[in-house]
Symmetry: C2
Subunit: 199 residues, 2 copies
């Protein structure tokens, strides 16, 4: 008599619980919510899961997510093809596109070099990046995360790219706009001082 069991409900709760950041209580709440949907809504939800999974794959140029052969950015005809911004994850592309005025292309590594997690250069889309570096590419901007792994990845790539005669840059470090000096950590403040600019 330990607990009350309804198999299909438990399976659904387990599935939700397997998602990142979803605990048991939240998984239960989501599962109940699904049960209270109309049959049509529940089927649409299930279809969205399989559709997204089946239709989305990597862009053959920049390795971002897309449902076509090329992603919308690589397909675009008003993009500066001499500029490639290297990011760790597709969500970083969404963030930069949302910010709005980046004119160039992207390259998505799908991770960062992290010996502790067993991620080496071979697991990232680095070969694909090197294959893109032709005479038309003038600059590669490293926009990996400001973490140990992101830094290491940026350093590793810049060592590979510089011999190919391409300019390699890094996103600026500094205090975030709208932030408060008091709450900035020491390293960020040091970087903000080092990177100070003329007014």
């Amino acid at each position: 008599m330990a607990g009350y069991h309804v198999a299909p409900l438990e399976v659904l709760v387990e599935k939700f619980e397997s998602l990142p950041g979803i605990g048991h209580k939240t998984a239960q709440r989501l599962a109940y919510y699904i049960l209270n949907m109309s049959g049509e809504e529940a089927r649409a939800f299930a279809a969205a899961v399989t559709e997204a999974h089946d239709k989305i794959h990597y862009c053959s140029v920049c390795c971002n997510l897309t449902d076509g052969e090329l992603c919308p950015v690589c397909r675009g005809d008003r993009r500066n093809r001499g500029l490639i911004c290297v990011v760790e994850e597709p969500k970083d592309v969404f963030a930069i596109e949302r910010a709005g005025d980046y004119p160039g292309l992207y390259h998505v590594l799908h991770g960062a070099i992290s010996p502790l997690s067993g991620v080496g250069p071979d697991q990232l889309k680095i070969k694909e990046l090197l294959a893109r570096i032709g005479p038309e590419v003038e600059e590669v901007i490293m926009a990996t995360n400001p973490t140990v792994e992101g830094e290491a990845t940026a350093m590793y790539l810049s060592r590979l790219l510089k011999p190919l005669g391409v300019r390699v840059t890094r996103l600026a470090y500094g205090i975030p706009v709208g932030g408060d000096l008091e709450y900035a950590d020491d390293v960020t403040l040091q970087r903000a001082l080092e990177g100070r600019q003329e007014l």
Copy 2:
């Protein structure tokens, strides 16, 4: 150029965002997680959603969720059928079953009377409860939530049930076990004093 669009991904993010307590960022993270699943896992996830929705319905006696004709509690042969515990939601049954030594049956109202949200007695499983009150039922325990709505529902039901000759009780109020008197609110402390018991 406002943002980067991949239709099936956006549909999936929207679906996750429509769930309670899931914001845009979390929905994105969950959608990416789905994309990184194997095809098999994604299909199992989708199947769990439709299966749970299609197979689970209300127990014909207590209105709890079940995938059979009767729920496991109503089906059980070691339950005290003279005792019915009335709760608002299926998750309350799970909570009481988890606690472990309640010997009786349940009745799930699927809500509480709440004029502000437009929920009247007719939307709750009250007719089904009254239909269960036969000579073998000795006591009905009100275990609705300790909120204004839960209280109102308990009062309403007790007025309906008492004329049928059944004993109606309410879960005890008091300070939570492991709690700290200092942090107990005034009403809870008043109720704990009123309900004090012999040692």
